[in-house]
Each structure stands twice: as C-alpha cells, then as structure tokens.
C-alpha cells in the first residue's frame, strides 16, 4: 500500500491524538490519592472565632516575621479583605453575611486564612525541584535551599496562598504557612496559632479525629453549624478543616472540585510515560520519518540527475 507523505502525517497525527484522548480514562483508576496515612490537622470553628488577631501575632512571633505596620491589637486591618503575604503567613478576615442579632446589629463572622496544607497538594506536584514536600505529619514543607524561584507553586495553588519575595533580588523565597513544622515534629508540639487562640476556635489534632469531632459538633448542634466540613473533600482533602454556621460561599471560600489538583496534570504527564508508549511512539514516528526520508534520498538519487537532464 502506497502512502504519500501527507497521508502518513495525517495517520500518525490521528493515532497520537487518539492515544492521548483515550489514555487518561484508562489510567484514572491507577492514580491514587497521595496523602500521608495519619496526618495532623486543624479544625477551625468559625462560629467561635472572635477576630482578635492573636493568631496573626503568634504566627509573626514564631516565624520571626517583621513587626507589623499596624499593631495586632488594632482591629482596623479587618476592614478590608486580606490575603497571606510575605510578612504575614496567616490573616483573619471579617465578613458580614447579613445576619443580625437581637439588637439589629450585623453579626461579623471571622475567617482565618492560611495555607490549607492539602492532603495532595498542587504546589508539591508543580515544584520541579522538590523544594515543596508533603510531610507525614501533614505539613506542606518548603525547603528554601532547593527552591529555584520558578513560582510554579504559586500558579498551582488553588487557594492562591504562596507569596514571593519580589523585592529581594538575590535570595528570594516563597512564603507560606509552615504549619509550625519545627514545632509539631516534636512530641506534644502544637502550631502557635492554635495554642494562642483565646477561645480555642482552632483545634489541633489528628485529621481523622478532627473529622469525627467536626461531625459530632454538627450533629450535636445542628442549629449552629451547617452540615458541611470545608476541607474534608475539597481538592482531595486538606489538613485545615473549617466548620461554620454561615454558607462558605459568603465567607470567601472557593467552590473547589473534590479531585486533587495534581490529578489532571499528573495523569496526563504520567500517562504519557506509561509503558514507555510515548517515547516509543515518538521514536516510531521519528523512525518513520527517517525511513521515508532515507527512502526518498535513496530513490531520489536519480531525480536530480533527471532534473539536470531535463534542464
């Protein structure tokens, strides 16, 4: 069967495309959740938080961050919505969901924002040098000595948490909540924000136990809590869990899929290299090229002569 060059490319393209389109479905079952077996977590009870910003203060102290421009005792920063930045790994935001008390005053709801320490983090998957790792104790750990500053983690994070030292030209780093890794690896260690919380709105413990506690709280007081634990399933589960009496959408929480972030990218990437089929097919395609090319060269030896002759 004779095929010309154009036909060959057409067939090869269709085959490759078909293979790419088909492969993910077949390998989906093969990619499992990459989560540590029994990690720590924190359960934040949004209904208890009083917005005192003590967690911000403790975080600042533990991580040796520069002193804030506005004192932590000052509630003014709550007036605008903030994100974690290089100088503050955790921030508290205030939301007015429209709920009013008996005196017709708006009831504020406070939400602490920090790295969620995903069970299967996008940033860890995106990091091309392994500077970010998910530790067995649940912390998503950043190793500045490995970081090359590509900032892929910032793109990969569904919560838009990592911040970058843009002002530092020589030794810039990525900054995000450490989960007080250096504290919790010790026996009895606890994250500073959880320890300092005056109302114990943050409970620190094993994630599995916290999920049980959250469910129990919701069951015992259904008037107080919505029947949802944010972080239980979101992006494959997070180490930080939230329970609230207000809809999460009104409190700045993103509506995220239950699929872990690395799922799609890693499936494509890993699928491509499964059974070496991608390189093999690449070599086959290239071999095909070479074959056709060579054949043309062999058969075409007379052509120039013929052309010359015709001229």
């Amino acid at each position: 069967m004779e095929i010309n060059r154009r036909q060959f490319f057409g067939i090869a393209g269709t085959m490759a495309g078909g293979a790419l389109a088909c492969k993910p479905k077949k390998t989906q079952a093969a990619r499992t959740l990459k989560a540590p077996p029994d990690p720590y977590g924190c359960l934040m009870d949004i209904t208890a938080c009083v917005g005192c910003r003590k967690c911000e203060e403790a975080c600042n102290r533990v991580n040796n961050l520069p002193p804030p421009q506005v004192s932590f005792d000052d509630p003014r920063p709550l007036e605008r919505k903030r994100r974690p930045v290089v100088t503050a790994y955790t921030v508290v935001n205030r939301y007015h969901t429209g709920k009013r008390d008996q005196r017709n005053q708006l009831i504020p709801t406070f939400v602490k924002v920090q790295c969620m320490h995903c069970q299967d983090p996008g940033c860890v998957s995106a990091c091309i040098v392994g500077a970010l790792t998910k530790k067995d104790n649940g912390a998503v750990h950043y190793d500045a000595s490995k970081c090359i500053g590509c900032r892929y983690c910032m793109v990969a994070c569904p919560f838009q948490i990592p911040a970058y030292d843009y002002h530092d030209p020589l030794t810039p780093k990525v900054h995000k909540s450490t989960f007080c890794y250096h504290l919790i690896i010790k026996e009895g260690g606890k994250p500073a924000c959880a320890v300092i919380c005056p109302v114990e709105a943050i409970t620190f413990g094993k994630r599995r136990q916290l999920l049980g506690l959250a469910r129990q709280k919701i069951k015992n007081d259904p008037g107080r809590y919505l029947d949802r634990i944010y972080g239980e399933h979101e992006v494959g589960g997070t180490s930080w869990l939230y329970i609230s009496g207000e809809p999460f959408e009104k409190l700045g929480f993103l509506d995220l899929p239950t699929r872990p972030i690395p799922h799609l990218t890693e499936t494509i990437q890993h699928g491509m290299f499964r059974y070496m089929w991608a390189p093999l097919s690449l070599f086959a395609v290239l071999g095909g090229f070479m074959w056709t090319f060579n054949r043309k060269q062999i058969t075409g030896d007379s052509e120039p002569e013929r052309k010359e002759g015709s001229i």
């Binding site: 959880a194 320890v195 005056p198 109302v199 114990e200 506690l213 709280k217």
Partner: protein, 700 residues
C-alpha cells in the same frame, strides 16, 4: 643576663598596667553599685502604724487557688440544664453557699503555653448574684457520684487538644468562651482583652541600647525608636499638658484649657505660675522650668517616671522634672514595665509638696501590699491602672479638686448598682440605699487612715522665725516660719454633701466672696436632684492672699530665686507671681479665708469596717424589732441586722485609733444634708417610708 632584663621590665610594666586597670575597673564598678544602692525606696522609712494585717489573707488564698492543678475529671455526666435543675429540686445552691467569693483566673496549665496577659480578677459572688443561677456556668458535673456537684472550671478543663478527650476544650478556651460568650450575649461586662487582664510587658533588658551614663532625653530617644506612636499619644495627654477637657466643671463643660498649667488654684501651694521648677518636679517630662517649655518636643517626655519597675527612679525635688542625679538611667530603662502604685504614687501620694499633705486618701502606705489602708490596693494588691483604665495614654478617672478628666471611673463600674449580693435582708436594704448614697459614704467612714493629712493651712502667719514650733499628737509640726500655720488630722470624719458629679470651681481671676469664705471647689448637688448622692469629702480650710483692689486671689512666687521662701517679702512675691500668671497686681493684698472640698474615693474599707445602720440612723438604736415598718417575724434577728458587726468597736479592736467614735451615732448628720431628720422617722428624699407614721404623731 642582659637578654633576661628586657622581658622582665616589660612584664613588670604589663603587671603594673593590669593592676592599674583592675583597680580602676573595681572603683568604677563600686561606684555603679553605690549608685544603684543609693536610692532604695522599697524599704519603708517610717514604721507603719498598728493596722490590721489580715486583709491580704483573701488575696493569698485566691493566689493559692489559682496555682493549684486539681485532678482532671475525665467522665462527665451528660444532662441538660433543665435535667440538672430538676435533679436538684429545692436544693439548688444559693449565693450564701458560695465558698469563695473571689478568684484569680490563672493556672499553671495556662501559663505553660505562654502568658501574654496578666491574671484576671473574677468576682464570683457578684456574678452569682446577678445570674442567680449557678448552672449557667457550672454546666456539667463529674460522672462519679461521689464527686461534688459543683466544681471549679479547671477540674474538667485543663490542657487543650487532649487527644484522649476530643472536643473537651482547654482551660484558657473555656474561660474565654464562657466569659466573652455571656458578656456578648447580654451586652454587659467587658469583652476586650485589656478590659479584663493587663497585658504583660516584654523584657526590655536586651531591647534597650544605651551608652554609659546617658542624658534623660537620650533615654526617651531610645524609647521613641519603637514607641513613637505612644509618644504622640502622650503629647495630647493630661499628664503631659497639665490641662485638658473639663466636662464636669459647671460652666466650663466645653472648655479644654483648664488645669494646673493654666487657671486652677488651690489653698495649698496656690498655683504653679512662677513656681515652675518645684511644681513641675512632678511633671511627666524633663525641664519644664520656663513658661516657654516646648510641649511638642517628644524627647522631653519622661517615660521612666511611670514605667519604671526597678523602684529606683526618683525625680529631683527642684529639678523641673529631671531625674535625681544618683539614678542609674540605663538600669531603669532596661527594667521598664507597667506602671504601679509606686510609680503613680511618686507624684500622687505626695500631692501638696510632700507625702500625705493633700489628698487624705492616698499615701505611701498604699504602696506596700501588706498595708490595709485600702481594701483594693492594700488587701487585694490592685495596681492603680487596674481601675483607672488607660487607653492611648489617656487615664480614666476624675477629681473634685482638679477640672481635667480623661474619662470617669466609679465603684459601680465593677460592683454594679446593686453591689450587696445575697438574699439576706440587710443586703436588700443596703441596695435600696445605693441610689442615694455613694459607696464610699459607708465604706470610707473616715479619711487619713494611715497618715495624718493637712486640713488647714494659714499662709498669713508665715514669717515669724522666733515662734516655737510645736509637734501635735501625730508628730507633725503646727507651724513653719516659711509657710505659716498648719493643722494636721488623722482618721478624720469626712464632710458630707450632695454631689451629682458636677463641680463648682473657682479659677484664677474669679472674684472672691468679699463677705465671707471663698469656696474653691464645691460639689454640685441637692437633696431634690435625683442624680445627686451623698458623698464623703475632705474639707480643707485655708487662709491665703487676695488682691485688695481687684478682689481676686493672688499667686505668690514661692520657690526658687527671689521666691517668698527665700526673701520673706510678700509684696515682691505677689508682684512676680501675678506677672507670671498674667494678671495685674494692685500692690495691696489682704488675707482671705478659702475652703476646698476634695473627694475621698480611695482608702475604701470592706464590709466589716463599713458604717452600720445605727451609725447614721439613730432611731434604730432604740428599736427592738423590725415591727415599726414591717410585720414582725420571729426568725429575723433585728439586732444582728441593724447593728451587724460594722462598728467602730471592731475597727478599734483591730488597732485603729477610733475609740472616740465608738457608740457614736448620727454619723452623717441628716439635717445638714437637707433632711428634716432621720429619714426613717421623717421620710426619705422622694417618698415617705411605707409605715413612717411617727412623722406626724411626734412632731405635732
């Protein structure tokens, strides 16, 4: 041999240098120690008078309880509040069952996680009295049937995040949720952090960087490195400006310029104009010796006088606020912290020039925890700022003697308007009094408790060097040839007056009362004014100079070069004083009588030492039962109620020198206050007592 000589000389020289240097170092070091030792005001110079020392027992017991860690209750009996109430039935615990009325909320369990804040004083009985339901706070009990039904918070709530007891909240969280939750829900009580407990100051030893022997302003500059905002706050504060808003002075409610620095006048040392270096030795700044002092210069703020915790900082008496040269400023600056009774007292205990002259309610004994001149400061160890809440360096509290106020504090802020908790009949009757009588009227039955206070000052007799000075029974001089006659009094019965919070105030330049006594400060109030209450006041009499032509009070130049204390020449003194005050002086002066009233809100006594019913209501002394007003009940012990142990007998028994007041009656004097007589017989302010029938029958 020659080779050996050289090293020998060198080594000898070296040794000599070492010896010299070390001697120098030792001398320097010794000097330094001397400096630190030279001023040690922690040791009382005067032996305290015999006063009861049992008051602090309550505080020590509370401290002991707060340091205890009790065994953790693991199993808790699950029951709803209704079930709990039903289980108790009639035996629901009452206020009278309360074992401890006062707690210090702190625990080693909380402290081991770091202590940003100091402990909280918790008035247990007061909360029980207001809530009238123990089970709001004591919500569960241990499952063990032998355990007590009501236990303290730390029995169940201890370490946070206990993996064995998921969901059991830690002690700190439990305190905060319980207190704040309830305060928020009822919109009563404090919810801010520093409203309940003072913030701990971090150790400044390594933060303060100062050279050897700095100037006072260098210390302030070092403070400003981090605390610039606080300095800005200070620049607008009363303690810096010595003037400010006077919302409680009648006719000057909207003014913001009254104060010691401008027009306030008294009958002690009269006025600060021309006497600056002496008067301003109590100013929270450095070097206010001229009227041209720059009140916008932050480096002149004296941070240390309030924030010293080393107890070695003192100001020089004539130094216009400069510290004593002996003070080691580096040492003090490294030991800064929260103000204390000692720092506030360094000025406020010695108002009027020296210790206990002026106030009659503030004295250096209050600085010692063991002292019992005052239940709060003495017995319970309160620091001044625990009541006088401070925000942005503006300190709440007001005074009768001074117009400036940066906020108001009253007993009711903590003790509520119904402070006598419990169902006992006496409490009910006492709570009916609080609308008409200030707390201190009963709880501060006499002033100048621990130290004599000046109650009269006659400047007109000054200048007689030959007169022999006699010591009165308190050991105080009755005369000083530079300052005239004095009268000192100890344990004085206060004057009583109606007071609604407003003050009539004589300010510099006001016309004097040419026909009688000029009143410098006077409480406003009337028996018919529902906002007025009867307050105890210190009465201060004086004779001071007035301009015979212009008829206003004169400001004498007393201290410093050319002052009266030096020249003994009144004419010169008044001429200079009035020039500094900016008012003309006619050249003729006369001596006039002035009086001042000073509030007595400190040196409060606990209930055991407060006035009893019969102390004021003489009519009760002859009664045998409650039958005059109520149906008689046998179970009510009338004697115990009306005479209940709050008499001068007890005080006398406890070592107070109040023997002459034992068995005294008619204490506050109803006629002077506008009553016809004892209100029990003649009716109260706004209504007759229900069965006060004697009113008609006796009079007619």
């Amino acid at each position: 041999m020659k080779q050996w000589k050289k090293p020998n000389t060198i080594s000898m020289l070296a040794m000599l240098t070492v010896v010299l240097v070390s001697t120098l170092a030792v001398t320097l070091f010794k000097n330094r120690i001397d400096v630190a030792d030279a001023v040690d005001p922690t040791q009382p110079t005067v032996a305290p008078t015999p006063i009861p020392r049992a008051w602090e027992a309550r505080q020590t017991a509370a401290e002991h309880r707060s340091a205890e860690v009790v065994p953790l209750v693991k199993e808790v009996l699950k029951e709803t509040p209704a079930q709990r109430r039903a289980r108790f039935g009639d035996k629901v615990p009452q206020i009278e069952d309360i074992e401890y009325s006062y707690f210090l909320l702190n625990n080693p369990i909380i402290e081991k996680e770091g202590n940003l804040y100091g402990r909280v004083r918790f008035m247990h009985k007061k909360h029980a009295g207001i809530l009238k339901d123990c089970f709001i706070c004591h919500h569960h009990r241990a499952a063990d049937p032998k355990a007590p039904d009501i236990s303290r918070c730390s029995a169940c709530h201890q370490d946070s995040f206990n993996a064995e007891l998921p969901g059991r909240i830690g002690l700190k969280g439990a305190h905060h949720r319980q207190c704040m939750g309830c305060h928020k829900k009822w919109n009563r009580g404090p919810v801010g952090c520093t409203e309940c407990h003072p913030k701990n100051v971090p150790d400044h030893t390594n933060l303060v960087k100062l050279p050897w022997n700095p100037k006072p302003t260098d210390v302030t500059k070092e403070c400003l490195r981090c605390h610039d905002v606080q300095a800005e706050e200070m620049l607008t504060s009363t303690h810096w400006l010595w003037k400010g808003p006077s919302p409680f002075t009648e006719g000057s409610e909207k003014r913001i310029d009254l104060g010691k620095a401008t027009k306030t006048i008294n009958n002690f040392l009269i006025h600060i104009a021309s006497n600056l270096p002496r008067c301003t030795s109590c100013h929270a700044g450095y070097g206010w010796k001229e009227a041209t002092f720059d009140f916008t210069d932050k480096t002149r703020i004296d941070c240390l006088v309030c924030h010293d915790t080393s107890k070695t900082y003192v100001k020089a008496p004539l130094g216009a606020g400069m510290p004593d040269l002996k003070v080691d400023l580096v040492h003090v600056a490294k030991k800064v912290g929260k103000p204390s009774r000692k720092t506030c007292g360094s000025c406020h205990f010695s108002g009027g020039g020296e210790d206990p002259v002026k106030h009659g309610k503030l004295n250096p004994f209050l600085d010692f925890h063991s002292s019992s001149c005052d239940i709060h400061m003495g017995g319970l160890g309160f620091e001044c700022h625990e009541c006088h809440k401070t925000r942005n360096h503006k300190i709440s509290g007001r005074s009768l003697a001074l117009p400036v106020a940066e906020g108001s504090r009253s007993c009711e802020d903590c003790h509520t308007a119904i402070p006598h908790q419990g169902k006992a009949l006496l409490n009910h009757h006492l709570n009916r009094h609080t609308e008409h009588i200030a707390c201190t009227t009963c709880h501060n039955p006499f002033y100048a408790k621990c130290d004599p206070s000046k109650t009269f000052w006659d400047w007109s007799t000054a200048g007689n060097k030959k007169r022999k000075v006699k010591k009165d029974e308190h050991g105080m001089p009755d005369y000083d040839w530079k300052m005239g006659d004095f009268r000192w009094e100890n344990r004085v019965k206060p004057a009583y007056a109606w007071y609604n919070g407003k003050v009539k105030r004589h300010i510099l330049g006001d016309k004097i009362n040419t026909e009688g006594v000029t009143v410098l400060t006077e409480p406003v109030g009337d028996i018919k004014d529902p906002n007025s209450k009867i307050y105890p006041l210190k009465f201060m009499g004086g004779i001071q100079a007035a301009d015979a032509v212009h008829n206003y009070l004169l400001v004498p130049h007393l201290f410093g070069p050319g002052g009266y204390l030096e020249t003994m020449d009144w004419q010169k003194s008044f001429a200079e004083g009035m020039k500094a005050a900016g008012l003309p002086y006619s050249g003729q002066y006369k001596w006039v009588e002035t009086i001042m009233y000073i509030g007595l809100n400190h040196e409060v006594l606990p209930k055991k030492f407060a006035l009893s019913c019969v102390q004021c209501h003489a009519s009760l002394r002859t009664e045998r039962s409650c039958g005059r007003c109520h149906q008689d009940k046998h179970e009510v012990d009338f004697k115990n109620l009306a005479f209940q142990g709050i008499d001068f007998k007890i005080l006398h028994g406890k070592g107070r020198d109040v023997q002459e007041r034992v068995e005294s009656t008619y204490y506050i004097g109803f006629e002077k206050l506008g009553y016809k007589g004892d209100p029990i017989l003649f009716g109260g302010r706004f209504k007759q007592l229900p069965l006060g029938w004697r009113l008609g029958s006796k009079k007619e």
